[in-house]
Symmetry: C2
């Protein structure tokens, strides 16, 4: 396998089994721990493939034993010795190699080690900052190594699958031009073309469409993308995308290809392949779950009681309905005994999403408890209880507001309740395709693309573009896994006039259109196949497959929420001369430049 100091590594530590007994082997790795017992020195030797116990016996080799007396945790050593069966009673069934040990006759210390600042063990109680600063030690932990191996295997499965389906891997530029993906670009100043800037890609969207124009037929790339966002919960400035595009296809072609790919990925990850990919329209998802990425591992559906309460004396309800809003509720089954403090917490929580309050009705053993029941007639109360399928012991929670606020507040409340009530089967993988998205969203009085401006409208809605664009549905589809959007895509516009019209609806100026997208519109002049695609967030997907909480655990060298690398201390100050070459100066900042 590999040779060092004249020794040739013959096995990995984790390889050895009973069948190797009697073999002379050479292993290389790290000392996981060392114990002295009965005149012998025992050490666990570790490499990427596992652990094995090695024994230094002065009767086997006085010299090796002497050297072993200096061994400490994380020393790097090479040993040669005979594989022997462990004596009865000392077999370690927790360890794959637990039936054997190595009787060492030669030891070379390849490198010594200081005591590491964090423990190299499966579990790690070090804080994340320490783990990131010493990432090279954190990555020695078997948990982290498994994550990296899983990521490797997922990529391999994706490539093999797509290769079987005639996809070509094509690399697209990193130093490119800003395209409107909705987030802020990272800019790269050009020195040769001083005063001008490249943008790092938020996605290879335009290039992959151009590859379809060029007849490549099927493209994929596992590609780094960049967004300079204010980092929320679990985002990274750079992330990896499984990016795909196909010619001559419709939505169903792409969906069925992706479902097959997911099955391969699950197989690779050693997980049971998903048996069902549900489908749900955007409209239904928003209405029933208050989210376009609903977690369907649990119920807690939103129930619309607007009709029931529209004439109620309780003006918060009836007034909201009268002014075009809605009243929806969730039945938190068995939660009637929530305390006043619990209720205050939940109310604060929905407040984050803009809800002005959280009305509630608890169906307790001793009757209804509710701050609002006095404003509701018995009939209204009965109808609500009936509509919400409520029984004794249930707690009904309501938000009355504009539909967007109701969806956001209850959609998130639903998730919070599920965690609190432990309703989620952590071993379940629940897939749902969300379809029939609106093409446009309204923001600050302007129309914006819900996905991106290259998404095709549904054929039957094209006529609505002029008069009622908000009603137009898109040929778009997102794949949601356990409440997390892992991928999204669409059939694209492949016609110049239609693309131009969309830009205009989005209020882009003629000049901006030509400047930023002229080349795409031009490309559409020369024979463009119908095409569409999809892109997956690899980091999130691997995180979910690994049952992990954060994408930082599936990225070898991630950045903090402050977009810094604690290991290398990037970003850093640069030399004044470097800025001069770029004709740049730092302005309005009190900062020392070397």
């Amino acid at each position: 396998m590999a040779t060092i100091n004249g020794l040739e590594r013959s096995y990995y530590c984790g390889d050895l089994r009973k069948k190797h007994v009697g073999e002379e082997v050479t292993l290389m790795g790290w000392v996981q721990r060392r114990r002295d017992h009965g005149g012998l020195i025992f050490a666990d030797l570790r490499d990427r493939f596992g652990l094995v116990q090695v024994v230094f016996n002065p009767e086997e080799s006085q010299e090796a034993f002497k050297k072993a007396e200096d061994l400490r945790k994380e020393y790097v050593i090479a040993i040669t010795g005979e594989v022997i069966a462990r004596p009865e009673g000392t077999i370690n069934s927790d360890l794959a190699t637990g039936e054997v040990e190595i009787n060492v006759n030669e030891l070379r210390v390849l490198d010594s080690a200081e005591t590491p600042p964090l423990q190299i063990s499966e579990e790690c109680d070090a804080g994340e900052d320490l783990r990131l600063k010493y990432r090279y030690l954190d990555l020695r932990r078997s948990d982290m190594q498994e994550n990296i191996v899983l990521r490797h295997n997922v990529k391999k499965a994706v490539r093999n699958y797509l290769d079987d389906y005639n996809f070509l891997e094509v690399e697209t530029p990193m130093l490119t031009r800003s395209t409107p993906e909705g987030a802020r670009d990272y800019l790269v100043p050009s020195r040769v073309n001083a005063g001008k800037f490249y943008a790092l890609p938020q996605s290879p969207q335009l290039f992959k469409q151009l590859l379809m124009v060029s007849g490549m037929d099927r493209y994929y790339q596992i590609v780094r993308c960049f967004r300079d966002e204010d980092l929320r919960a679990d985002r990274q400035p750079e992330f990896t995308q499984i990016d795909m595009e196909m010619s001559f296809v419709n939505e169903e072609d792409i969906i069925s290809l992706v479902e097959g790919m997911m099955e391969e990925i699950f197989d690779t990850a050693g997980l049971e392949a998903p048996t069902e990919f549900q489908r749900m329209s955007y409209q239904e998802a928003m209405s029933r779950y208050g989210s376009d990425r609903p977690d369907l591992r649990f119920d807690l559906e939103l129930v619309d009681i607007s009709e029931v309460v529209k004439d109620a004396e309780f003006n918060v309800f009836s007034g909201t309905v009268a002014s075009g809003g809605e009243v929806k509720g969730i039945n938190a089954k068995g939660c009637a005994s929530f305390s006043r403090k619990d209720m205050d917490e939940l109310t604060d929580y929905v407040g984050i999403y803009g809800a002005k309050g959280l009305a509630w009705i608890a169906l307790r053993e001793d009757g209804i408890s509710s701050p609002i029941s006095k404003f509701l007639s018995d009939e209204e109360l009965d109808n609500i209880i009936d509509k919400m399928d409520a029984k004794e012991g249930d707690l009904l929670l309501f938000v009355a507001d504009k539909p967007k606020v109701v969806a956001a507040a209850l959609g998130n409340l639903r998730q919070k309740l599920a965690s609190r009530l432990d309703l989620i089967d952590q071993d379940e993988f629940n897939f749902v395709w969300i379809t029939d998205f609106p093409l446009f969203d309204e923001a600050e009085g302007k129309l914006v693309s819900l996905h991106h401006p290259f998404t095709a409208p549904q054929d039957e809605d094209v006529d609505l573009l002029d008069d009622d664009p908000v009603k137009v549905k898109a040929k778009a589809y997102d794949l949601v896994l356990n409440g997390i959007e892992i991928g999204g895509g669409s059939i694209r516009i492949h016609n110049r006039d239609l693309q131009q019209k969309i830009f205009e609806i989005l209020s882009l100026e003629e000049e901006e259109i030509n400047d930023k997208f002229g080349f795409l519109l031009d490309a559409f002049e020369y024979g463009t196949p119908p095409h569409g695609g999809i892109a997956f967030g690899l980091d999130r997907l691997v995180m979910l497959l690994g049952g992990l909480e954060t994408i930082r655990d599936v990225i070898a060298f991630p950045k903090t929420q402050n977009a810094t690398c604690l290991l290398t201390e990037a970003p850093s100050k640069v030399e004044k001369s470097q800025l001069e070459e770029l004709h740049l100066e730092i302005e309005n900042l009190e900062i020392d430049i070397d």
Copy 2:
């Protein structure tokens, strides 16, 4: 395969053979050309997989025939029809599908097309600027599609091979910190950490070493790297590297692994696997070929005649030797009849590389012709002729100068002569490993790393580091194919003290060492395995495999020498607000910012 407008694509155009005769098929693609003949319309239909002839016969379908009358080049169409055998005498043996044609009964025009500004044909006589501006059309040409497919296949072969050898693909950051690879970094201003900058990686060198520290054992990545250089002949600001690193290995382990990988790659490319990987020390390569990347497909070796001419009357020779220089020559066999103009051209050529002149001796039928022979004794002339194995008809060319200048001048002259004399077998793939590089080079009175500062010195030379560092040889190796360096690597330093010493020899200040490399030095404290690696330039490798002249032909969307993308017009001006967010201002440039 794929469905559009209710038609389901059943084959690719290039798939169809005689065995399909009688089948009803649906194809989708581009109209390559159309001809009307004998009341029928013939079109060649093209997709990524080939061409097939389709026939519109009004007796088969009046409707399809009518529509076909509008077809022009590059229209995108879908057709359904029966595969029929071509009549005897109309079989086209140049075409894989030449025995059949499709009798069309249904035609859908999916998109029309303007006349393309460049011809979609195998050969292309359009200028490169036009090809780059309309890259999506250039990529329709079968030559370019083959290049992209070759690149895809090479990457696949590399991945499969490395996977078999337990390499893990690990992604390293793009937004990182400047490391000294010798070229200028591309900088990315940070907004969140205003006044600070990320650097795009020139290579993932430090990260891959840290992955070895972390016990990943074997790492690879096919990764984009960036260098902001003044673009010479065939460089790109971004390029792709096959990057590898292994623990517990020596030079031989890496070399033998790479040789196996090259065999796989050649196999994939449909080329005969290389039978021999020669080895040559840096010293020998420089001495015999004047280059550390010698093209060994032809001889024209450099011959040292310093000893022969050291006492010559001709002072240009003897004086050079006396002052520590050398005199070397090339025997251009059969070139005695070169004209005075030829000689002037060659003299100008070596002048580019610093040579002050080019002495020559032509062994013509009518005797020796030479401007310098009168300054040489008969014995000296005889010795030169003897030493250079010269015969009648040969032309001997000499440069006398410092060794570096002689090597550069004659090394390049050698290459020029080989082209001119057509000495190169274009089908040969000649590999040579160059080994035993010096660890340091001298530049502007300072020592610099010949490779990079992480390269380990050879064990027996470590003692020379203090007293005679220029004599220290490195554990480094470059792989040269046909005179082009396709890869280079080394065994790395894995010891803090030695690494620190190297930094000091390179005249790095204590502060700079800690600031830029402190984390690497720290990492070496915690048990670091011996390790080494190599990196290959994918673009160059694929270019050579494809028998191409420029790496731009193996990159889907390359940039010009001016580092611009003619398709998207990147880099471009950015909004003032974008610069404000970054606290940057453009200085000393007359440029309009929108």
